[in-house]
Amino acid sequence: MSLLHYLVLSPFILAIFIPFLYKWFRNVHTGWFILPLPVILFGYLLTFVTTGQGMEVVEETVPWVPSLGINFTVYLDGLSLLFALLITGIGALVVLYSIFYIANKKDEPLNNFYVYLLMFMGAMLGVVLTDNLIVIYVFWELTSLASSLLIAYWFHKEKSRYGAQKSMLITVSGGFAMLAGFSLLYVITGTFSIQGIIEQSAQVIASPLAVPAMLLVLAGAFTKSAQFPFHIWLPDAMEAPTPVSAYLHSATMVKAGIYLVARFTPVFGGMPEWFWIVSAAGIITLTWGSISAVRQKDLKAILAFSTVSQLGLIMTLLGLGSAALYFDVANEGQYYTFAVMAAVFHLINHATFKGGLFMAVGIIDHETGTRDIRKLGGLMSVMPITFTISLIGLASMAGLPPFNGFLSKEMFFTGVLDATELPIFNMQTVGLMFPVLAWIASIFTFLYCLIMLMKTFFGKYQPEKLEKEAHEAPIGMLISPIILISLVVIIGFFPNILAYTIIEPVMNSILPGFTFEPNIYHWHGLNTEIFMTVGVILFGSLIFMNLNRWQETYFFLRERDPLNQVYDKGLDGLITGAQGITNIQMTGLLRDYFAYMSVFMVGALMFTMFWFDAFTFDVNFGMMGSITPYAVIIIVLLAVVSLALPFIQHRVSAIAVLGVVGFLIALLFVNFRAPDLALTQLLVETVMVVLFLLCFYFLPELKRGDFKPKFRWLNLVISISVGLTVSLIGISALSLSQTDGYESISMYFIENTYELTGGKNMVNMILDDFRALDTILEVLVLGIAALGVVALIKLRFKGGEDV
């Protein structure tokens, strides 16, 4: 275990102590205990940032399941470092902000909030810092779980639960698809290590499984990063407390999909399918998100759709940039790497301005009691600091100089314009769609930024519509957004402080082999990009001035994304369908269930036996011991009693007779000198008889006329086939052991039991030592079954409950 392993695990370790700290120090806000951790982690991670060229990659491995190639390998390169810095940096700011945002109230257990938050932090660090796909998958699903729990933090609200369920269903199904994709990659390359897969990328691309693997991995990335049409969970996730929205649903978790796409660019980059799917999904999400954002009335909903569209922007750039890998490093490939650089730069910028904006909206919500833009207005003079924060954040998001958003938006335009010149993938014809859509989306981005600013801070102050009297937030709440917004300004003026420290190492991990000179500057001369920006401002303002006419249209009145209907109908259909299928098979009659089980067992066994052609009847009777008369007597008795069973009409007598069968079997074991088995059989039989008698005491009397004759024939066929299957398999096993010289495993136990375990009772030593894992799992099943009985009986519905 290296320090980096502890870095990933430390949030989980701290989370164990949170409930106790919460209980013992009720007067101290639990957040203060959390705050040091992300700060320390951030500080430690900063030591990996280099100022010179080239970053040293750190790799440390702890074996987990080495036999399956699953190892907890920490891999820290530029890309991981950027994300880890975001997670811990923004994490620290969000924790600080949350201390003032979430009050220490009795009915809202703070410890839950911080335990989930730490769980998320650890899981997210795990996703970005590990190299092994299976470990990534585990952490990936943990982030989904933590996100869902945090959305449902105010679980008494119906909408919170709906949002939590939705995000869970969508992201976890995506994650599951991703696991299938990882498995396919393992089939192709024989390794779960991402670096190992990257080394074999030529082999991956050549494989016929490449496209399915790619689609499945992308399903995980797109659901997590809220790409069209999976983006519908993100607006509903806004029911979470605002610190959570700022942290998970704008700065970190939703970028996990971006991370995954960036990580797999060296593997799939250069494939036309990858290029088209990633960039098309991105550009559609960008446009759809920005257009949807315009018609929202809730500040957080605007930000949610804005996040969706910005994620689409980054995704588009990653997709377009992947074309570079199609070419040789020495040739024109270099030219197209620019898009990836824009993506990385915008990813950082988005985290700063969107984080700040979310916090500002949280402040407005906290201090006025509403986020509805129809009720807000004129807050500029009431909340001057929040206004300044929002102004800078929104200007940056809209792409106005001199802030960092302007720089990355210009780079984005350059990226999409360059892409139209690509000589491959039909880009010279269809490729024109990219700059056009990008431009339209930017107009709407500008428009919703303007709406947010004007409707909240300008216009008329309407104190009668607000729940509280508005005033500026306490200083503690303002620190975090001020830090983030200062970063917006600093990066805007001095973008090149990031150039070789962060951006270049990241580029080296996304597009290995290329050399980069990341120089970012404001003024490029009068080129197409600057005219596009001017056009965006012009058209955006024009629409805003005519907004009053637009507002009454159908488009503006319908806030909800139409795709939600697909989800809602689909979920309802799934539940009804599942119930339908269940109702067909669950008849409530035990004998039907026994019939299913028997038929399945016979089918599965017979199929396997025929498939492998395993039936042999070549038994050498000479090699078997003689049969004692006792055994013959017991077996005849067994047969007679068993045959008599179906004809007994009284339940209690049937149980007693069944007990006789059990005791006869115990006798048979005695005859074959297996005292342990005989003893167990006797005892189990005793307990079973008591149990059966008790159960049947509650059942109605067995009546003869109940069965239809046809049904009984079917039962006869089933019972005979079960008997036949078991007998045939028994004979085949005997015959195989005689002919093919298979040595019985019991010899091993006979030879080694005393040596290895110090015990002489072989059966027990197998149970307690050799196969102890089986035993503990068996008793676990027993325990679960007993608790199931308790649940079924004691928690039974009395009728009339809402299920």
């Binding site: 005292p675 342990d676 003893l679 167990t680 005892l683 189990v684 005793t686 307990v687 008591v690 149990l691 008790l694 159960c695 509650f698 375990t757 110090g758 015990g759 002489k760 009772n761 059966v763 027990n764 030593m765 149970l767 307690d768 030592d769 102890a772 894992l773 035993t775 503990i776 008793v779 676990l780 027993l782 325990g783 079954a785 007993a786 608790l787 009985v789 308790v790 009986i793 004691k794 039974r796």
Partner: protein, 141 residues
């Protein structure tokens, strides 16, 4: 006519004692001769069941106020604890150890970590058998 249970009660008192102590014997015998955690547990459960059957359910519950859900939980925890123990020594989960020690008055005694494991099995088996049966028997519906 009121049924008289005197015979049953008197015999049960003696038999239950024998059954219960025999189950403990079976438990410890399991290392070298037939017996062990599973059989011992079943036998112990049978002994207790005998008590519950011949006396009243409520009467035994007042005499033996045992929560069998907790018995299962404790058993499972002991079992997993035995497994985790070996992780401390860097061995795989559920590695068992044994050695011989000179104990005062008893001479050389073989001690093994399968014993706590067998105790775990014992507890779970007793808990499961009695929890299931008592729950069904105590059902009012």
């Amino acid at each position: 006519m009121k049924t008289n249970y005197v015979m049953l009660h008197t015999i049960t008192r003696i038999v239950a004692l024998i059954v219960l102590s025999f189950s403990v014997y079976l438990f410890f015998a399991g290392h070298y001769t037939p017996g062990g955690g599973f059989i011992g547990g079943l036998m112990f459960a049978c002994g207790l069941l005998l008590l519950y059957l011949s006396f009243d359910l409520n009467k035994i519950t007042t005499v033996l106020p045992i929560d069998f859900e907790k018995v299962i939980a404790i058993g499972l925890l002991i079992g997993i604890g035995t497994g985790l123990n070996s992780l401390l020594f860097g061995d795989p989960f559920l590695t068992m150890y044994f050695d011989y020690y000179d104990v005062w008055l008893l001479g050389e005694v073989g001690l093994t970590t399968t014993t706590p494991f067998a105790i775990a099995i014992f507890l779970v088996v007793v808990g499961v058998a009695l929890l299931t049966i008592l729950t069904i028997a105590g059902d009012e519906a």
